[in-house]
């Protein structure tokens, strides 16, 4: 009986649920302010606490071109914590965008680069480049990103092809294909890293498969700092096309969208961004899945609002998560993927329950 009441109550809720979508402008502003505050906190907090005022004065001094005041504060703020906080923000924003675009591309709200195996493909590409010595030297960033991009693109194409085999395109099939292929690739990645042998590389299995922001440095920021805004701009320009894809390819075609071209672009862009992100932070789970969902609940499904809000919220989320990772334990820091999984898995279960519960 109890079950019956729950079901019927849910049913009634569903029928009357309407949404006045929250205006995106003020929300974006709010998120931006929160992001700035989180970045400040991320730089201020840690084994040595630095007052927020001091954080800003160090940053200001650096940005305005004045000679930095020598000392530990400048070192901690400018060389250690700020690049890391910015990396968290860029990677978070990128994951928010990748998740949003991928979910529209495959018309499946459960899609994200991690579950579709694309992140693992990117990891394998990057690791292969390192083992083969392609990623060494001055072009480290680009070589790694390029290899990760190639791995991501190849994996995405493979998962797509497997999921589409036989013409049908069941959402579950796509996710299962992604998980299976992703697991295979991550096994291969682990093998390669362990095979390579040395201590440093063994340690980095964790980096490639769980994700980590601990390698942050200013040069590492370059690729995501270019890629994330560029992808945001491109997706924003295609926002109506993304909306139309949600309804189906035929609908999109009927609305005057060149669906084949749009899909190709989205394929390339999501793979590229996944490659860039994985090259700097490894494969971080759940962020790309969760961020668009949470944002959709607040601003709705229209990509013109969803994309910028997802980028901002993703950035905010990962900066906060990284603060937790660095400060939760006194002795060592947690890999960022540990915390995102701890938050993300229950959230995913909640989502599944909500979807299955509402019968859609």
């Amino acid at each position: 009986m109890a079950l019956d009441t729950t079901v019927s109550r849910k049913g009634t809720d569903a029928r009357v649920r309407t949404r006045r979508s929250m205006p995106a402008g003020p929300l974006a502003l709010l998120l931006a302010v929160a992001l700035l505050a989180a970045l400040t906190a991320a730089v201020a907090w840690g084994s040595t606490s630095i007052p927020p005022g001091e954080v800003w004065s160090v940053v200001w001094r650096r940005l305005s071109g004045d000679a930095p005041r020598p000392g530990t504060n400048d070192l901690i703020v400018w060389q250690l914590r700020l690049p890391r906080a910015l990396l968290a923000a860029l990677v978070g924003a990128g994951l928010g965008l990748v998740g949003t675009a991928m979910q529209a591309l495959v018309r499946n709200p459960l899609a994200d680069p991690y579950f579709l195996g694309v992140s693992n493909g990117a990891s394998l590409g990057a690791v292969a480049a390192i083992v083969l010595g392609l990623g060494s030297g001055g072009a480290l960033g680009l070589g790694l990103s390029g290899a990760a991009f190639a791995g991501a693109l190849a994996t995405f194409a493979l998962v797509w092809a497997v999921a589409r085999r036989g013409g049908g395109f069941a959402p579950l099939r796509l996710v299962l294909a992604g998980v299976a292929i992703g697991q295979f690739l991550s096994g291969f990645t682990s093998y390669l890293v362990l095979q390579a042998g040395d201590e440093q590389q063994t340690h980095s299995v964790l980096f490639w498969l769980m994700g980590s922001l601990s390698g942050a440095s200013w040069p590492l920021l370059a690729a995501p700092a270019v890629a994330v805004p560029a992808v945001l701009l491109l997706l924003q320009a295609r926002a109506r096309g993304l909306n139309a894809l949600l309804m189906g390819d035929e609908t999109a075609a009927g609305l005057g969208i060149d669906v084949v071209r749009l899909r190709r672009e989205l394929f390339a862009v999501t793979s590229l961004l996944t490659g860039v992100l994985v090259a700097v932070s490894g494969a971080i789970a759940f962020v790309a899945l969760m961020v668009p969902h949470v944002c959709r609940l607040v601003v709705g499904g229209d990509h013109r609002r969803l994309l910028p809000v997802s980028a901002l919220f993703g950035a905010l989320l990962l900066v906060v998560v990284d603060i937790v990772c660095r400060t939760a334990m006194d002795t060592q820091e947690l890999p960022v993927g540990v915390v995102t999984s701890l938050i993300g898995a229950p959230a995913l279960l909640y989502l599944l329950d909500r979807r299955l519960g509402s019968g859609s």
Partner: protein, 276 residues
Amino acid sequence: MRIDIEDLRVAYAGRTVVADAHLIAAEGEITGLVGPNGSGKSTLLRTVYRHLKPAAGRVLLDGSDIRELSPARSARHIAALPQERGGDFELTLREVVAMGRTPYKRAFAGEDAADRDIVERSLADVGMGDHADRHFTELSGGERQRVLLARAFAQQTDVLVLDEPTNHLDVRHQVELLALLRGRRRTTLVSLHDLNAAASVCDRLHVLHEGRVVASGTPREVLRPPLLAEVFGVRAAVVEHPLTGDPLIAFDHRELCNPAIFPDTSGNSLRDLPDF
């Protein structure tokens, strides 16, 4: 505006699904496509709203090939209502209907007052004006179809293409949707499963059978027992609808047509057979 389809051939996964199709959707008329499952109705319609590219032949919009227009430009003339359901993405009715404005919008452009007005009016036209903020996925089947029709209306085209819009709807909602179409008075190309519905709402019918157009004309000319036997394999009598005077097809639901009754399948001799 009118649609002429000339010598259309469409291949799908290496198989020819539509061959040598000729048909006309005249200005302001409702043109119906009927035929059994798999006869190529959807495929043919997909070439009109440019989801599929013809292997040969042309789709003409007032005499010019739609393939020579940009996709956005042809979408300003032809709106489609395909059979897709869409994913579950928290879209409101207003957002769904606003998609109809897509072919008029450049990248980064928002909706202006005129767009919003068109969206509101389209929703009102299908009787969903008070529900703009509801979620699309929470609607009933009939409501969904009406909203998708509103999206097509918001596209403000001269031509509407609909692929079995009354599928899965109960009778009342079928009547409601078809009445909306009739009231719109646009050049309409619609595939319909229900032959009686087709007989009463369509000005002209084209019958597809195994990828070919086998008959064209008014419902009264086309929907005759021999054709129903040959194309659909069913026994039926065609009588006058007591209320509307439209042709009413009374199917024999007990058994299929015995092919021996209609041994001759060529054009003229069929007409000599009795109407039951």
